[in-house]
């Protein structure tokens, strides 16, 4: 399968103090939904902006659909729909005006897909941007990235500011994009969202690409928050002694802890008492990162 994005030791530094990205080797296949994950300031936006030619790389090389990011940036941008993480839209313009303008810049004559997307996401196209909420601006940002059906979508935190129903609709659209064989490069802090739509994920930290995993592997590497409620008081020590149990709290009928290991032993131990309720929570992506990196650094708990 050919590559939509390929970088080799891609580096961008901003001077001595400010961090950018260093030696990033990335390979995103055509037709896949690739999640690009990392804490704030890790280098996600720098990577995307360097790929689009907004920032000049200080080292390494990169290609999008085989086009050089330094020399063929305009050709690349003709093939990419971009939603920046932090963006603003011209206050005086309406969404409709913006889409018509961008359609002229791209040579797109038919705005029917733009209108379909706007309707599905509930974007308000006829009010000036200055009167729109953050969520509504985000919807217009999404529509302008997608309306020309680009072969590659680069979306930085696409669901920020969207309500759950619209997030759901957006994820449906991403699945349709994948079904059409187009590529999505997607950064998000929302693990559930990543789990649902991404085929693979790349994890960046401190400007370096720490790993590229399939989504299942990333989830497997994470832990769970567990809270158990029993019919009568139980001794917490056997639970504390289980492999992978950390930060155990509580006493008497209710105990809670973080489980880093297999849940089989824990379930069997819990089942030896009269269990009233069991809460088993997925951690936040930020928490997964911390665990993941501690493991990577050989600090397995």
């Amino acid at each position: 399968m050919s590559l939509a994005i390929e970088t080799e030791k891609l580096t961008k530094t901003y001077g001595r103090k400010a961090r950018g990205i260093e030696d990033v080797d990335l390979a995103v296949e055509e037709g896949e939904v690739f999640g690009f994950l990392g804490p704030n300031g890790a280098g996600k936006t720098t990577t995307v902006r360097t790929l689009l030619g907004f920032l000049r790389p200080t080292g390494g090389r990169g290609e999008v659909f085989g086009l050089d990011i330094g020399k063929e940036s305009v050709e690349i941008r003709a093939r990419v729909g971009n939603l920046p993480g932090e963006f603003a839209l011209e206050d005086k313009m309406t969404g409709e005006g913006l889409l018509k303008y961008f359609a002229r810049l791209r040579g797109v004559g038919d705005l029917s897909y733009a209108h379909e997307l706007s309707e599905r996401l509930g974007a308000e196209l006829h009010r000036p941007m200055r009167r729109l909420s953050r969520g509504n601006k985000q919807k217009i940002g999404l529509v302008q990235a997608m309306f020309h059906r680009p072969p590659l979508l680069m979306l930085d935190e696409p669901t920020g500011g969207l309500d759950p129903l619209v997030q759901e609709e957006f994820l449906d659209i991403i699945e349709e994009v994948r079904a059409e064989g187009r590529t999505v490069f997607f950064s998000s802090h929302n693990l559930a969202e990543v789990e649902r739509v991404c085929d693979r994920v790349g994890i960046i930290r401190g400007g370096r690409l720490a790993a590229v995993e399939t989504t299942e592997t990333l989830i497997d590497k994470s832990f769970r928050h567990v809270a158990l409620t029993f019919a009568e008081d139980v001794d917490k020590e056997p639970f504390e002694a289980l492999s992978g149990v950390r930060d155990l709290k509580g006493d008497g009928k209710r105990i809670s802890f973080t489980l880093y290991d297999d849940l089989d032993e824990m379930v069997k131990l819990a089942a030896s008492h009269k269990l009233v309720n069991m809460e088993y929570e997925r951690p936040s992506l930020e928490e997964v990162f911390l665990t993941y990196y501690e493991r990577e650094n050989g600090e397995e708990r």
Partner: protein
């Protein structure tokens, strides 16, 4: 609509406009967005010009006494402000309107072109716009062209209001004289706009892109104005754009100067495009 298709395979092809098409789309959009500014600037300066034409009818009858009074003023001061004969409507309008107009009107291109790059970076709109297949040089050239067109529209409005008032009040001022006076504003104001564009490309700070051309605008005006009155500064006058500005309402446009100033503006814009091509885009 002209469209080119690029290299094959699924993700490797994309339809997009020809470079001329994107430039035209950018210029026409920017001119439309500047329409309100054109009206505001044109109306403000045009109404001032109209008021000065109307005031001429009041002083016309006593022009001889006024000129006599002016003789009491230092000669250098009168030369500095271009006052030769207040009974002549063309000289009156040069000294009261067109001699000073570039100081105000230059702020239209300065503000517009400081916004084009640095302003868009500060507002955070540049990433969305350049997400389109728009070459950086076109962002520079397109904004420069759009401002050049809008500025021409502003000058035309100033001219129409000034000349219209002259016709209504019976002041002897031909359309040609007024047209040359307002057209002569165009390259001078455009030079300071192009300077703002260069600063916008260099510093990615909108404040600096406004302050530097504004400082040079007033500095050059003072050098030229004081240079006319003071021998000490006379040798410095050629470094000022105002030295080449003259009085088109009285003497017609000096096309050599007009062309040279326009070339300087084009040169500054070209420099802006080269600088902007090399640097990172900040948000």
């Amino acid at each position: 609509m002209s469209v080119v298709m690029n290299r094959g395979e699924k993700g490797r092809h994309a339809a997009r406009r020809t470079p001329g098409g994107t430039l035209f789309a950018l210029v026409s959009h920017t001119v439309r967005m500047q329409f309100r500014s054109v009206i505001i600037w044109g109306a403000a300066l045009g109404l001032y010009g109209a008021a000065m034409v109307a005031s001429f009818t009041a002083i016309e009858g006593s022009a001889a006494q006024l000129n006599q009074l002016m003789e009491a003023y230092p000669k250098g001061m009168l030369e500095a402000f271009g006052v030769t004969d207040l009974g002549d409507p063309a000289n009156y309008l040069h000294s009261q309107v067109f001699g000073l107009a570039p100081l105000a009107l230059s702020f239209f291109p300065i503000l517009a072109l400081a916004n084009a790059i640095a302003g868009a970076e500060e507002r955070g709109t540049i990433d969305v716009l350049l997400g389109n297949p728009l070459p950086r040089w076109q962002l520079v050239a397109g904004n420069f062209l759009a401002v050049a067109v809008s500025l021409l529209g502003t000058c035309a409005l100033v001219g129409l209001l000034t000349w219209g008032t002259a016709v209504l009040t019976g002041v002897e001022l031909s359309l040609r004289e007024v047209a040359e006076a307002v057209l002569n504003l165009w390259p001078v104001c455009l030079v300071f706009g192009a300077l703002a564009l260069l600063c916008s490309a260099l510093f990615h700070r909108r404040g600096l892109a406004i302050a530097i051309p504004a400082f040079l605008l007033f500095g050059m005006y003072l050098i030229d104005t004081i240079g006319r009155a003071s021998e000490d500064l006379e040798d410095w006058r050629p470094v000022s754009v105002f030295y080449y500005y003259g009085s088109a309402i009285e003497n017609g446009i000096d096309w050599t100067h007009f062309g040279s100033i326009t070339l300087v503006a084009l040169g500054l814009s070209l420099l802006a495009a080269l600088v902007f091509k090399q640097r990172d885009i900040y948000t």
